[in-house]
Symmetry: C2
Subunit: 241 residues, 2 copies
């Protein structure tokens, strides 16, 4: 019997925000795979797993280099897919764990594509997790979108020109991993007088930072697990609608 491959979102970091289903699967699967390159991230996902299960897991470390070269990346994903396929073919279940959710900016998607090419008979189950995109507004007690509002989510690398049109067309914009760009972004956003901005880093951890005054943080060294929420003020009197 071929084993089953799980892609599991463990939530934003607070062990309380893992789902019952993720906990149940992680309590019975022996073999966890984690990307080796992003050491910080791994140990975060692993620490959540260790907080909610008693099982001693074996680890399969997958080598995803930080390269931007297409060929190097493909080779590493293919190799990772083969490593997972070998375990599945030997009858072992394997769980790939990721902070947040496996469908949102996770390495899981790449791995899955190569695995499916290599091991088409594998059964796959993806368990969605709570994303920082909603955990941060919960920490701020500030709704992300309501009614007919539109939401945009933008990753770290984008031009300010690009950001301009997004800000103009959307009610709420979430900018992921803004730590290094915060001063530049806050300066850029000064041109608008109809925006409110919120910054959250390390959401759900003891050192969580959540503020509606990101301009106070411009001198600080910020953690990469961070996002900026930009909300457009509604027309006068409309904020209660």
């Amino acid at each position: 019997m071929t084993g089953k491959f799980y892609g599991i979102g463990v939530g934003p970091g607070d062990p309380g925000l893992i789902t019952l289903k993720a906990q149940a699967i992680l309590s019975r699967v022996d073999l966890l795979c984690v990307p080796k390159s992003s050491v910080k991230k791994d140990s975060l996902a692993l620490s959540v797993v260790q907080a909610v299960t008693d099982r001693e897991h074996q680890l399969l470390e997958l080598d995803f280099p930080m390269s931007k070269e297409r060929q190097i990346l493909e080779q590493s994903w293919r190799h990772a897919g083969q490593q997972v396929a070998a375990k599945l073919n030997a009858g072992q279940d394997v769980a790939f764990i990721t902070i947040g959710d496996p469908s949102l900016y996770s390495t899981f998607g790449y791995l899955l594509r190569f695995l499916k090419a290599d091991c088409p008979q594998a059964t796959v189950e993806i368990v969605p997790g709570v994303s920082s995109i909603t955990a941060c507004p919960a920490a701020l007690q500030e709704p992300l979108v309501e009614g007919e509002e539109k939401l945009a989510v933008i990753p770290a690398a984008y031009s300010l020109e690009d950001l301009k049109s997004v800000i103009e067309g959307f009610d709420t914009v979430v900018l992921m991993k803004v730590n290094r760009r915060l001063p530049e972004l806050m300066h850029f956003l000064k041109q608008y007088d109809n925006l409110r901005t919120f910054f959250v880093s390390r959401c759900g951890y003891p050192d969580q930072l959540a503020t509606s005054e990101p301009e106070r943080l411009l001198e600080e060294k910020l953690h990469y697990m961070s996002l900026l929420i930009v909300k457009k003020n509604k027309p006068a009197g409309d904020n209660d609608k």
Copy 2:
């Protein structure tokens, strides 16, 4: 002692996708509040709660009329806020439950604003939940966004003109509650030859529908808990990147 007010996302509907924290809070809070008007939705959130706790909850039904008139809505939110405030002031903890996540298109935000005005001393905790926005791609085994891709989330009421510019500017667009508009949308999307579309309804329920061929559903009566994912094809050969 004033009671504590919780806003709790119970996830997209599968009881396995509730978080440990939500389950723990709902196991100790006696009083749940649910919006009366959206009867279907309530019973969904309630059925998740009943599946994961043994407690017999009291219910505080809040009357949110389906009106579009500002004054009627404000009156109902204010009244709901007062009802919750009365319970908190009497020392009871109260949990507002919502399918999905309380920060994404939930009535919770309105209620919270009015409650805070009425009962500024209340302690509030928001527990984020898994949203259908990531549960649906998990069911499809199709990543939502990867690498430097941009995501837009658009609610039911929008013009096709508006949609056009969003589709052109984003890698992935999630259209919420598309059930009634599916034929119109699929017709509109025909003009693009670089898109893939996915439809999911009732994600995580026994009657879940998840397909990469929404054009086959144009004659069907579809559930309102539905969304359409529109993904732009990457440049040739780039789909494995």
